[in-house]
């Protein structure tokens, strides 16, 4: 008996190890969809609790916010914060804006399916991805080369085919594709580049934040009418870090 058992022991061990390995593999394979479900739930909660509740009503914007997997646009180490009501650092001193701000800015330009939109400051590509689902074409420029490259790859990988990324100085806009129906400037700036206004269509809208993403910010909407630009300081999004009341 003793002998038998010693002979059998390795088989039992092998069997147990194999079972364990199978279980781990199964768990690993099934974890991804589970996680995706969890992210989808977080995204729905984000839209309901942070965006819709705070007054964003555009169905197109709400649908886009529900559809774009925001967690894939933040660094892996920050994924747990992806659907929180806060901006998330993405490196190079840049942040992905908090969900409400993205939704607010998108709604403010009243995007239409036929729109051609210019974005200055691609960042991780999240704002472009949101616009991608609503408008015809998005042209986005990022001045920080590594950010622009990774955003380009990410957008391609996720199938946002109507987004074109360019790495360069957003100051000059995108003359070849001008004029634009709307321009979204995602990085705060102490001046509004004159070429951008030139590349904005008559009755076109441009939106930009004023202030640093970690501080009190307000958004400004520029509307081009009769060749003149009228600015409107929008309700401060109390964009203040991470909470909004």
């Amino acid at each position: 008996m003793f002998k038998r058992s010693t002979v059998q022991t390795p088989h039992i061990r092998t069997f147990v190890l194999m079972q364990l390995a199978t279980a781990i593999l199964t768990l690993a394979l099934s974890a991804a969809p589970f996680q995706e479900d969890a992210y989808r739930e977080s995204r729905n909660a984000m839209v309901t609790q942070q965006i819709r509740k705070e007054g964003i009503r555009s169905p197109a914007v709400l649908a886009a916010m529900r559809a774009v997997p925001r967690h894939l646009f933040v660094p892996e180490s920050m994924r747990s914060y992806a659907y929180s009501d806060r901006p998330v650092p993405i490196g190079y001193g840049q942040t992905i804006s908090q969900p409400y701000i993205v939704a607010y800015m998108t709604q403010a330009i009243t995007p239409q399916p036929g729109f051609k939109v210019l974005e200055i400051g691609t960042g991780s590509g999240y704002q472009a991805a949101i616009l991608s689902g609503i408008v015809k074409a998005v042209y986005t420029i990022e001045i920080v080369a590594p950010l622009g490259q990774s955003a380009n790859e990410r957008l391609k990988q996720l199938g946002y085919n109507n987004v074109t990324v360019r790495i360069g100085d957003g100051y000059h806009g995108w003359k070849e594709q001008a004029p634009f129906d709307a321009i979204v400037v995602t990085a705060a700036t102490a001046y509004i580049p004159p070429p951008l206004l030139e590349q904005l269509k008559e009755n076109g809208k441009m939106i930009l934040p004023v202030g640093s993403p970690f501080e009190t910010q307000w958004l400004m909407l520029v509307t081009k009418k009769d060749g003149k630009a009228i600015t409107k300081r929008l309700l401060p999004v109390s964009f203040v870090p991470f909470t909004r009341k």
Binding site: G93, D169, P194, G211, F214, E215, I230, R233, F242
Partner: protein, 792 residues
């Protein structure tokens, strides 16, 4: 004698290391975080006192060994901690502190890390104090003088070496201190070699926070640093990039922006931009052009000239004589070559220039108040004497009949800078005898900026028409103008509501200062007594603001002041632990302890030091050197006071007399210091230095006496309490620095001085109660009667 040198060297090393570390942290993070980290690290002094009071006997039993390890440890710590703090595992980013819990842990690690050299160095000094307690006054003299010299060493050092190099040099001083007094010198040489070797093996390049201005600008295409210079005011760097442009609040009618020749940074923070000559007229497309629209400006005074954009604007508007005043002398040397010909450049505090001359100008311009998007209140603690009510009055006096003062601000949210500027201007006009300020103020607003032009003569119809035309051309909106209609105020730059105009109207109306109380932020004009223009927090309104903006928003709105308070609270808590722990150990038995606590608190000394520094900055006009001169002379004269104290010291009565003299002098200084300095500001530098020396020397000399006298008394009567008393002094010195800042912000400098007098007055109490009863429980009837005997 060797012991004195040893203590002097150690003290010098600690102070110089502290200043170098402050510089390092200011470069990689921000000044206020540097202040917070170092304040906590400085509690190493208090902790050393605690440790000594508990382990005094054990440590004295192996004095030589302990001193060796402590001094070597301090040296090693000074050499390595800055490098270790820069490693990826430990590096923290202050900007993310409120968003990422991990950063709080890293901050704690940084506290601990920087604490080490201060703790070890202080423990070595404390051990020497205890070991040679009978010569306490001389040791204290060495301690103070060494600290003073350390300050000078750091000041000279940061001009020559990088802060990292300076920390290495400082690391050698504790080793030298050991060499002087310890046997087995071969071991010390070996330790020095190890320290230098380790520093060489692990160099510590600085990694700036990714959120610093310099880090972000370096990401621009083709960005490169063109100049780098260490200076007492910080690390100065200039940078070029073809994508660098400057046009604050540019009109939407402009067709171009200003190309920047290069931008200058101090400690990684934006300082200013030098525009290329061909685009230097770009500021004429901003609200900053308002004073030139109102009238011609031949003689222009540019205060806090920075990068010189205002100089270039003046020139492009036909100014014939431009005077530029910039307090940062090193920066001025770099920049003025690019300001073009015909500029008289002066390295002075603007207020010093205004107070000392008589020339009149057609225009006096100031830099934009605040920064684009706000600076998160980081400058709340920075004294800005150029933006006080008195400063504006001095500018007003220096205006020609048709002259103007021009000052701009970013349109922030919630509104703070523009309102405070307007309040300051309005109060200044009233105090200059103007009954209707509206006739003297024009203000125009772009999408991002607002510029106020304050004219010496009432605005004429022609000038008003010119302002209206300027607004029309540039798509700006007039905010204040005689005869302005409400409908004109937001044609091009619309607002969500009209609160801005309501606020403006209230400030300009008679009794407008009632608005200060109603508004949620502090927009009461800054004064010379409370020169904190960018301090907008009202502590009483914090709960309401938190409700409105959200708890996590608030820190970023007014970070500077809140950090000061956070630091203060942390230090109080830690100090409490450091002081109370040994009390438990002692079993709360000694009735002398409350007396010791009051006597050795040291609050008065730090308060005096802070007020004198602030006053002398304005008096001399160069902040860094003024601070260095005050600290050094205070420490050296106090050291002298300490040195001679055993010879002067007679029974308790004389010590009481000394304290009464200090209190009396402070009570005289509190009201008299500011007028005295103001009335002699025009004198040549040497005279001014002599006056300051006359003011400081007797006071500092007297202030140097009580501490060693008290310490040597405690040494004789209750030796075990010496380290504790020393620790109390260490802890409370750190507390009092923060406390002085809070009092200065809330009540003003005069109060700080008055409270310093009160603190010294309070110290008399333990002495009075020690006369016959229990406080300094000694078993002697006249506890201070034999002080003389204790000093040989």
């Amino acid at each position: 004698m060797r012991v004195l040198w040893s203590i002097g060297l150690l003290s010098a090393a600690i102070i110089a290391f502290q200043l170098a570390l402050m510089q390092v942290l200011s470069i990689v993070q921000w000044y206020h975080f540097a202040y917070m980290v170092i304040s906590v690290a400085l509690l190493g002094f208090g902790t050393a006192g605690t440790v000594l009071s508990i382990f005094r006997k054990k440590m004295l039993a192996h004095l030589t060994a302990w001193l060796f390890w402590l001094m070597m440890g301090a040296g090693l710590g000074m050499a390595l901690v800055t490098g270790i703090a820069q490693t990826p595992a430990i590096r923290f980013d202050a900007y993310l502190l409120f968003t990422d819990l991990k950063q709080a842990g890293l901050l704690l690690l940084n506290y601990l890390l920087f604490f080490i050299p201060f703790f070890l160095g202080a423990l070595a000094i404390g051990l020497l104090f205890v070991a040679y307690a009978e010569r306490i006054s001389k040791l204290y003299f060495a301690n103070l003088t060494g600290s003073g010299m350390g300050g000078i060493l750091a000041l000279v050092g940061v001009g020559i070496l990088s802060p990292q190099q300076l920390t290495t040099v400082m690391a050698i001083l504790p080793v030298l201190a050991a060499w002087l007094i310890l046997p087995r010198r071969y071991l010390i040489v070996l330790a020095a070699i190890v320290i230098i070797g380790l520093k060489w093996m692990f160099p510590s390049p600085l990694h700036l926070s990714q959120y610093k201005d310099l880090s972000k600008t370096l990401l621009l295409p083709g960005a490169k640093i063109t100049r780098e210079k260490n200076s007492p005011g910080g690390l100065i760097q200039t940078l070029t990039s073809p994508a660098l442009r400057y046009a604050p609040g540019l009109s939407l009618n402009a067709t171009t922006t200003g190309d920047v020749n290069y931008a200058a940074f101090v400690n990684g923070d934006w300082f200013g931009a030098v525009l290329k000559a061909d685009t230097s007229c770009i500021l004429n497309y901003t609200t900053l052009a308002l004073p030139y629209v109102i009238g011609p400006r031949k003689e222009v005074l540019v205060l806090s000239a920075g990068g010189g954009a205002h100089i270039q604007q003046a020139r492009s508007n036909g100014a014939e004589k431009i005077t530029a005043v910039e307090p940062n002398a090193v920066m001025l040397n770099i920049l003025q070559n690019d300001w073009g010909p015909g500029v008289r450049a002066l390295a002075l505090e603007p207020r010093t220039f205004l107070s000392t001359g008589t020339e009149e100008f057609d225009l006096i311009t100031l830099p934009i108040a605040g920064s684009f998007g706000g600076a998160a209140g980081l400058f709340a603690l920075q004294e800005q004497f150029v933006l006080t009510r008195e400063a504006f009055l001095e500018m007003w006096i220096r205006l020609r009949h048709d002259g103007a003062i021009s000052v701009s601000a970013w349109m922030d949210y919630p509104l703070r800078h523009p309102l405070k500027l307007l309040a300051t201007i309005t109060e200044m006009l009233y105090s200059a005898g103007i009954t209707d300020p509206r006739q003297h103020i024009a203000a125009v607003r772009s999408w991002g900026t607002i510029t106020f032009a304050v004219t010496r003569s009432p605005l004429t119809a022609k000038e008003i028409a010119a302002v209206r035309q300027f607004c029309e051309d540039m798509q700006f909106d007039p905010a204040i103008l005689p005869g302005l209609l409400e409908s004109e105020r937001a044609q091009y730059n619309q607002l969500e509501d009209t609160l801005l105009f309501h606020y403006i109207n209230r400030i300009l109306s008679p009794g407008g200062n009632g608005f200060y109380n109603d508004y949620d932020f502090n927009i009461r004009p800054a004064t010379d007594n409370q020169p904190y223009f960018q301090q907008f927090i009202k502590l009483s309104r914090l709960p309401r603001l938190a409700g409105f903006l959200g708890n996590r928003s608030l820190p970023f709105l007014e970070l500077g002041y809140l950090l000061l308070i956070a630091t203060f609270v942390q230090i109080i808590l830690l100090s409490f632990i450091l002081i109370i722990v040994p009390l438990f150990r002692k079993g709360w038995k000694s009735a002398a302890l409350p007396g010791i606590l009051v006597y050795f608190s040291g609050i008065g000394y730090m308060f005096v030091e802070m007020v004198l520094i602030q006053r002398c900055i304005l008096y001399f006009g160069t902040p860094v050197y003024a601070a260095a001169a005050v600290i050094t002379s205070l420490l050296i004269f106090s050291g002298l006071g300490s040195y001679v104290s055993p010879y002067l010291m007679q029974p308790r009565k004389l010590l009481i007399a000394v304290l009464i003299c200090i209190t009396g002098l402070l009570l005289v200084y509190a009201p008299a210091l500011t007028p005295l300095l103001q009335n002699t500001m025009h004198l040549p530098l040497l005279f001014k230095a002599f006056i300051v020396l006359l003011l400081i020397a007797p006071l500092a000399f007297l202030m140097g006496i009580p501490f060693p006298a008290g310490l040597s008394y405690v040494a004789r009567t209750e030796a075990a309490a010496v380290p504790w008393a020393w620790g109390v002094n260490g802890c409370l010195s750190v507390i009092s620095t923060g406390l002085a800042s809070i009092i200065a912000i809330e009540l003003g400098f005069s109060w700080v001085m008055m409270l310093a007098a009160a603190a010294y007055g309070l110290v008399i109490l333990p002495l009075l109660s020690a006369s016959g009863r229990s406080s300094f429980r000694t078993g002697q009837k006249k506890p201070f009667s034999n002080l003389q005997q204790s000093h040989r």
